[in-house]
């Protein structure tokens, strides 16, 4: 059987599959860094945005932070189970992580519905343009992570490709990490 290059070759000492995830994260740093950096600069230049930021729901943001932190715990426990060779347990933790992502998205959609119903749309003010773009892009990353995780979990359940549990976990922690900065920027600074 031909073994995939991602699991058999490494020029850096880091398994190629995992290194690829780190490269994805490196490019994500530029994407989210540019977006958040742009937001911070504009926010400091537009003190009037504080009036708009006052409308974001801090408690919903805090709850979602708690949900993502908890889902990250499930992801790392899945990695720990994979290291012990327990694929079934690893898969179950990945399903739990996905559940966290789902709860996060449900809360976010309720939040957005309320805000849009109150006239706070992506075009009503540049603050809201940043808000929907940053949170929306982050939400898309949550969805992508969940989809990939379901595939990884399906294999892990059969004790196959267990190294991927760590790889998707690293990605998920990064998504959590982005939210850790989005939360104070969009919900706390008022």
């Amino acid at each position: 059987m031909i073994r995939p290059i991602a699991t058999t070759r490494s020029a850096t000492g880091v398994p190629t599959g995992r290194l690829a995830v780190w490269w994805v994260i490196a490019s994500e740093i530029v994407i989210f860094g540019g977006l958040l950096g742009g937001y911070v600069m504009h926010r400091l230049g537009h003190p009037d945005w504080a009036n708009q930021a006052a409308n974001t729901n801090t408690w919903a943001g805090a709850f979602n932070t708690f949900v993502l932190l908890t889902s990250s715990l499930a992801a790392v426990l899945g990695h720990q189970a994979a290291e012990k060779g327990d694929g079934k347990k690893a898969a179950n933790f990945l399903y739990l992580t996905c559940l966290g992502g789902l709860v996060f998205l449900i809360v976010k959609s309720i939040e957005w519905t309320t805000e849009i119903q109150h006239g706070m749309t992506i075009t009503s003010n540049t603050f809201w343009s940043f808000y929907y773009t940053a949170a929306g892009l982050h939400g898309l990353h949550v969805i992508a992570g969940m989809v990939i995780m379901l595939f990884v979990a399906a294999d892990a359940k059969k004790n196959k490709e267990l190294q991927r549990v760590e790889n998707i976990g690293i990605y998920w922690h990064f998504v959590d990490l982005v939210w850790i900065f989005l939360f104070p920027l969009l919900y706390i600074a008022k």
Binding site: V14, G45, D48, N51, T126, I180, P184, A189, K190
Partner: protein, 158 residues
């Protein structure tokens, strides 16, 4: 060469347990406590406390996630260097363009559009007392944004 051997993983086999045993639940509990601090701290409405509890605590939380959950501190040096380079590039870009974005006037230039935008924002919310040079993050009564004025309808052309 030993690095290469260590890095190889056969599909289906359990990955190497290369990370020291960590009490992940304890790390999660610390992160939750930090979350509570970051929510309650800004309620005191003291600017310095808000900065420390919201943004300072966010940095600590990010550090914990990166080192304990992502195991970045146990990864080969190339990875932190790689990520650090990206952060440095971002910092360079932000430092280079921030004067143009954050300031609305200079010795020989003036960003009238940005100034107008701030003025409009202030006029829409007369309850808020900000001057343009005041730092963001001052507190204001929550007020919904004014609806965007519809563009005047163009006369139909026949």
């Amino acid at each position: 060469m030993s690095d290469h051997a260590h890095a190889e993983q056969s599909p289906g086999s359990a990955p190497h347990a290369s990370h020291p045993p960590t009490n992940y639940v304890k790390i999660w509990a610390i992160l939750c406590v930090l979350l509570v601090v970051s929510v309650l701290g800004p309620m005191l409405e003291i600017r310095v406390v808000t900065m420390v509890t919201a943004f300072g605590v966010a940095v600590v939380k990010a550090y914990l996630v990166a080192t304990r959950f992502m195991h970045l501190n146990h990864e080969k040096k190339i990875v932190p260097y790689m990520l650090g380079t990206m952060l440095a590039i971002m910092a360079l870009m932000i430092a280079a363009i921030s004067p143009d974005v954050m300031k609305h006037e200079g010795t020989r230039w003036e960003n009238t559009a940005a100034k107008e935008s701030v003025k409009r924002g202030m006029l829409l919310h007369p309850g808020a007392h900000h001057d343009e040079k005041a730092p963001a993050g001052d507190h204001a009564a929550p007020v919904p944004p004014a609806p965007t004025a519809p563009a005047p309808a163009e006369p139909a052309k026949h």
